[in-house]
């Protein structure tokens, strides 16, 4: 079956800061694609990530695991992850698992970029 229900778009803002857009469904099948994309950014020096969930249709526990793993990896490198514009449809699993408490939430990408620069990301 060749239906890939996810698209990951990334935009480098500065040497250690990137914005990642998760479009579609992030689940047990597609989460590895998200993980690979983020791992590539981290290997390339990114330690601050704004993950935009505006167009995320679905988030399951595997996707939550991938988000938490990303957070752990960048925090090990003194970085951080902000979640941008978390829609109600994907907020539920984050709330149930209390994982929403460990991320900074912002309304826009610009807000996240400003917050991450305050936390130590280099400016564009």
């Amino acid at each position: 079956m060749e239906t890939m229900q996810i698209e990951i778009r990334s935009r480098r803002v500065s040497p250690n800061l990137a914005v990642v857009q998760v479009i579609g469904e992030c689940d047990v099948y597609t989460a590895p694609k998200f993980r690979e994309a983020v791992d590539r950014l981290i290997e390339d020096g990114v330690t601050f990530l704004a993950i935009n969930l505006t167009k995320t249709e679905y988030l399951d526990s595997t996707a939550l695991g991938a988000l938490v793993r990303t957070l752990k990896r960048v925090r090990e490198r003194e970085g951080d992850v902000d979640l941008v514009n978390v829609p109600d449809r994907v907020r539920r699993p984050l709330e149930i698992t209390h994982l929403i408490d460990i991320f900074t939430l912002t309304n826009t990408e610009d807000e996240a970029v400003a917050d991450l620069i305050k936390k130590g990301a280099t400016e564009p």
Partner: protein, 136 residues
């Protein structure tokens, strides 16, 4: 007079991640047919997706059987694999400084469904039986 047998819809998918979305779509259609609200449909899709993901994690091969029983006041879902089983009392989430990476699926299912029963047997696999009632 005996009550009529509730309509049942059965789906069998391969125990592989790419088919979980098929199960979610099916549950969405069944719940919509029963006139569940959008929030409840989202809950059902997530719960079934988690049960299937759990089956894939513990079974690795074979099929997953999903049975939807459309009772007058509730939807009963059974997700069954033929894997090695697991201890359903084991996973717990702690809002800790060191966040967990796995083991969240059953916590999500239990939070979303009105009733959840898990039967796990090393010889016969695992069945997650979930009930979603109509909100009054």
């Amino acid at each position: 007079m005996t009550s009529p047998v509730p309509p049942t819809i059965a789906l069998r998918i391969p125990c592989s991640p790419e088919y979980v979305s098929v199960a979610r779509l099916t549950i969405s259609a069944v719940a919509s047919r029963m006139n569940f609200g959008i929030d409840d449909i989202d809950d059902l899709k997530l719960a079934v997706g988690e049960a299937c993901a759990n089956a894939i994690e513990h079974a690795a091969e074979g099929d997953i059987d999903i049975i939807c029983t459309m009772e007058p006041d509730q939807l009963v879902l059974s997700v069954k694999d033929c894997g090695i089983g697991f201890d359903p009392s084991a996973p717990r989430v702690e809002p800790a400084e060191e966040p967990p990476v796995g083991g969240l699926g059953l916590i999500i299912i239990q939070a979303l469904m009105d009733d959840v029963q898990i039967h796990s047997d090393p010889q016969r696999g695992t069945e997650v039986r979930m009930v979603k009632r109509f909100q009054k």
